[in-house]
């Protein structure tokens, strides 16, 4: 057996390119699965760790029911007196910044802009460490009493800012500059993870003084002393709600993490889809490569059969090749996956605006992915191996391998047509409930794909006839001979077309989704990032700044904007949505609202908003909850639940579309909020934007720690961010097309090897080398056309399913817009890929020496 092993290894070494391609396919699949699952796990662990760290042992939190504004400090005693509570500690959040720390650009995450900055928590130094972990790395923790005027900062952040323990540091808060002594550093762990480590703590009373919020807290964190698990905790929560009254709410800290996890889950679905694609194309490439190896080694294997090797032993020989390649590919894939993992984590961090931890390599996932890689390799190799084992010694010695595809021609189309009919039925007529529809929709993706794939063999002649004339025109008479070759190995043709189909449909989906998104998103971004210049700050901005700004000759209008989270009593449960407060007059002077109904009378709607107690709701909320102009929404304010009338539906994708726009006067009156997040600035007529920015910077940047950015720059970055998000799918499309190209190389190489004698004959009766190249290119071109056109159709259906699924899940209904570019691009890519991939086999065919070919058996 040693000798046959040697033959197997040598066969791998001889076919270097194919061995490399097969290894690449296996590695690609393993790397895809490994990196994607590791990224998902890393995201989950990071989020869990973040919330566990920042919440510590906190089991419940008391907050204002209105989501905004604080709670009175007296409440602390009420809560502490409650039975079943071990600890109740107060927190006051103090946004701050270090002078000179002001970033040059706004912190732009997926559809939200802020200015970063330092978050300080006002706490009780004796009690808080009992609830959360503070690991002192240098100096000491806070000493009790407001008189100390001390702060403790996260060490990593402090070192970045060149701050040492013991020194005085000047900090800017909403009420101005203050000097605090740095008592010590804490590690960026536990509570130190808050605000991505840009965090510090100070004595509660001092924080209240600096925030100008004496006697106020933001929340009270509770460590419950109850035993008996979640049921008892829920009882405690309900009893707390009952005794504190309607103005306050008691929540589980974990619920804050849900939002982030929800945001990530959408992306994770996309990533899992990618892993599936990687696995499919990998399996296809492996199958193709092994089939080809069997074709080429038939004579050799036949010889081994004729000298006494059994069917099983021959099959085992091929499977050993599979084991070897599977093992090597899995190792390479694990290495590549580790690199991809880091890249994905980086990308995901950028998209979510949340730093994810890479940590050590997840060995479990690595082993699992390698196992999947090995299994897929062996499964993909099993069919060619079985085929090799079934070849009789005589047949093997006389002929090159020939697969029996008759069953595919005879029955494949029946199964294919049935699948296509069923998919069409489901897509057109679907009386099932919404969630069943969604599941069926996902199944349709696969049934459509396999249906289209299975009808390819039986339609080959039709394709060939349909394209005969254009092909004759481009490739001459030999084009006909080339395209007819596809009928000879229907299974191989089918798989190659399927691979091209996947690649092309990925491009169509990417283009379609991008087209549909941008059709809605760009007008919104254009309006949302309105005006000429945007001002932000990491500390709350005083509204008085508006008058100061407008007094500048370079500024025409300054429109203040404030975002808050509000609770809204939806039909089934309380929803949290964002509330963007604007002054309708100044806002419309600077930018505009994008009404989803173009017929709506904008001025009338804005006038209604100006009158107060009115809202513009996002199209997402409108679709998701069936709300329309004229309906009412009940929002929880500091004055209790208040009714707001819906004045119009606008395009608004802030907070993933879960947002409303309200009046500034309502914000001040009902939520008691007076500070500003951002100012949208419209420059005076004839003044350059740069001049506006320079003037604001000179007069107010230092005083207000302003981040000043032109809206053009922000729009550009928003566009880049979007492209980055869509770019992931572009990469997927490119990988799929690349693998399809490798498939075409393999298929045509196999075809050339099998037809060596025939090509020799054609050369001998007068076919030139160039005509041989044309013949193979024609064969590839038809593969490209079939794969391209089917891919285009499949891609369109897939895009529609994705859009429908998104609409069903999030209420975010997008119009289906397929750019004309996508149509041409997909066909061009399919043709170009097939032609480029065919060049190598075509040149190989053209070099076929006639004499050996004629005598070739």
């Amino acid at each position: 057996m040693l000798l046959t092993r040697y033959i197997t290894f040598r066969s791998l070494a001889t076919r270097k390119l194919r061995t490399f391609l097969t290894l690449f396919a296996i590695a690609l699949g393993v790397a895809g699965i490994f990196s994607i699952h590791s990224t998902n796990q890393s995201a989950y662990i990071s989020i869990t760790r973040l919330f566990e760290g920042t919440s510590g042992r906190v089991s419940l939190e008391v907050r204002s029911a209105a989501k905004v504004g604080g709670i009175p400090q007296e409440l602390l005693e009420v809560v502490q007196a409650k039975e079943g509570i071990d600890w109740a500690v107060p927190i006051l959040i103090l946004p701050a910044t270090l002078p000179g720390e002001t970033p040059v650009e706004l912190d732009l995450t997926f559809f939200g802009a802020g200015a970063g900055g330092l978050i300080l928590h006002g706490i009780h130094p004796e009690d808080d460490p009992k609830v959360r972990d503070y690991e002192i790395t240098q100096g000491r923790f806070l000493s009790p009493g407001a008189s100390s005027r001390e702060v403790v900062l996260v060490e990593d952040y402090a070192r970045e800012q060149d701050i040492a323990v013991g020194q005085d540091v000047t900090i800017l808060t909403g009420s101005g500059l203050v000097d605090l002594k740095v008592a010590g550093f804490i590690a960026r762990d536990g509570a130190g993870l808050t605000n991505m480590g840009k965090f510090g703590v100070l004595e509660l009373a001092l924080a209240q003084e600096l925030a100008d919020r004496e006697g106020e807290l933001d929340h009270i964190d509770i460590v419950a002393g109850v035993e008996g698990g979640p049921a008892s905790l829920e009882e405690l929560r309900e009893s707390l709600i009952a005794s504190l009254g309607e103005a306050y709410t008691v929540v589980y800290p974990a619920s804050q993490g849900d939002r982030m996890a929800q945001m990530l889950s959408g992306y994770q679905i996309g990533l899992n889809f990618m892993a599936g694609i990687a696995l499919f194309v990998g399996a296809f490439l492996i199958y193709n490569a092994f089939s080809m190896t069997v074709v080429e080694r038939t004579r050799e294997l036949g010889l081994l059969r004729s000298v006494g090797m059994t069917h099983r032993q021959v099959t085992a020989e091929v499977m050993i090749e599979g084991v070897l390649l599977g093992a090597l590919g899995a190792v390479a894939g694990a290495g590549g996956g580790a690199l991809m993992f880091r890249g994905l984590v980086e990308l995901m961090s950028q998209i979510t605006g949340q730093e994810l931890e890479v940590g050590g390599l997840p060995l479990g996932i690595m082993a699992g992915s390698m196992g999947v890689g090995m299994t897929v390799t062996l499964l993909a190799a099993a069919l060619p191996a079985r085929q090799a084992g079934r070849i009789s010694p005589l047949e093997a010695l006389r002929l090159r391998g020939r697969s029996d595809d008759r069953w595919l021609l005879r029955y494949g189309w029946i199964a294919g047509t049935a699948l296509l009919a069923a998919s069409a039925g489901i897509l057109i007529w679907n009386p099932f409930p919404y969630d069943v529809q969604f599941r069926l929709g996902s199944l349709t993706v696969f049934s459509l794909f396999f249906g289209a794939m299975l009808v390819i063999p039986v339609t080959l002649q039709a394709w060939q006839s349909l394209w005969r004339w254009p092909f004759r025109l481009v490739f001459g008479g030999v084009g006909d001979i080339g395209t007819r070759n596809l009928e000879r190995a229907p299974k191989r043709t089918m798989l190659t077309c399927a691979a091209l189909l996947v690649g092309v449909s990925m491009i169509v989906v990417t283009q379609g989704m991008t087209g549909s998104f941008t059709a809605d998103l760009y007008p919104w971004i254009d309006a949302y990032i309105g005006g000429d210049v945007i001002l932000g700050s990491s500390v709350p901005l005083n509204r008085d700044l508006k008058e100061k700004l407008e007094s500048l000759a370079e500024v025409d209008t300054a429109a203040p904007v404030r975002y808050i989270q509000v609770s809204w009593q939806g039909e089934r449960e309380v929803e949290e949505i964002s509330f963007m407060a604007v002054e309708p007059d100044s806002y419309t002077a600077v930018t505009r609202f994008v009404f989803s109904d173009p017929e709506v009378q904008g001025e009338k709607a804005v006038a209604e908003l100006s009158r107060g107690r009115a809202l513009f709701i996002s199209s997402v909320i409108s679709e998701k909850y069936g709300l329309n102009p004229g309906d009412d929404m009940r929002l929880v304010t500091r004055e209790g639940e208040k009714e707001f009338r819906i004045a119009a539906v606008v395009l608004d994708f802030f907070n993933q579309g879960l947002g409303v726009t309200g009046n500034w006067a309502d914000l001040e009156e009902l939520f008691d909020i007076h500070d500003v997040n951002t100012f949208l600035i419209k420059g005076a007529e004839g003044v350059e934007i740069q001049e506006v920015m320079t003037r604001i910077a000179e007069d107010y940047q230092e005083e207000y720690q302003l981040v000043i950015e032109s809206n053009q720059a922000i729009k550009q970055r928003a566009g880049e961010l979007m492209n980055q998000a869509f770019g992931m799918f572009d990469i997927l499309g490119i990988i799929a097309v690349m693998v399809a190209a490798l498939g075409v190389v393999n298929t045509l190489s196999m075809s050339v090897v099998e037809r060596t004698r025939e090509i020799g004959m054609l050369r001998s009766i007068g076919m030139t080398r160039f005509q041989v190249v044309l013949m193979i290119l024609a064969e590839a071109a038809l593969l490209g056309i079939i794969g391209g056109l089917l891919g285009l159709g499949f891609g369109v259906v897939l895009t529609r399913i994705f859009l429908a699924a998104m609409g069903a899940m999030s209420g975010y209904v997008l119009p289906f817009i397929l750019p004309v570019r996508a149509f041409w691009l997909s066909l061009f890519v399919a043709l170009l890929t097939s032609q480029l991939a065919a060049l190598l086999p075509a040149l190989r065919a053209a070099r076929t020496p006639m004499l050996s070919a004629i005598h070739h058996e």
Binding site: I481, N485, L762, I765, M850
Partner: protein
Amino acid sequence: MNVLLAENLQKEYELGQHLVKALDGISLSIAQGEFVGIMGPSGSGKSTLLHLLGGLDQPSAGEITLAGEQVALLSDYQATLVRRRNVGFVFQFFNLLPTLSAEENILLPLIIDGQKPQAHEDRLDMILKRVGLQERRHHRPDQLSGGEQQRVALARALITRPAIVLADEPTGNLDTQTGTAMMLLLRESAKDLNQAIIMVTHDPRAAAYADRVVFLRDGRVVQEITFSADADLSMRLRHVIITQEELEA
């Protein structure tokens, strides 16, 4: 008139460190309408000679004039064009394209030459009639018998009215009866179409149909028999067998 003239053909191969002489100074001339058989034991150089005469390979020395062209001096492209228009090939294993019908296989050299098949319908009909395949013209090779496939191959070789048809063991893969029919067809084609044919064969019965039989051994012409037109087949066969035995002795 000679359609093919070979002078002092030499062909050497490197086999490892050894130099093998496949042809050692062969001279040969073929007249229009002449049917020449080439015989000889394995390794005598029969196939090598056929390949050189057909322009499939280049001689190490010597000259070949085919339809007025010095084949040895031509580039690969030029040699291809000469082959396409002046040489017809018939192979032992038929070498038909399985995806094309009998008719399309026959028209293949014209398609390759960029000609419109419709322009050659008369010629096609005539050849199909000659090889007896009018009823089978739309069948694919896998629907044809071995003899029918070889007849398609012969028709393919004849369609371009080549100066010469080269046949490499054309009966090697046929049973005796079908082989005989094939040889009759070849001889009639030579006569009726005034077509020069060179056939390499091991089979004395096949060679007996030729006008002239050239015997090779160790890359040289060692014997030549020319039959008179009225010699009957059994006499020719006996002559070929006796000559073959004498040379092997």
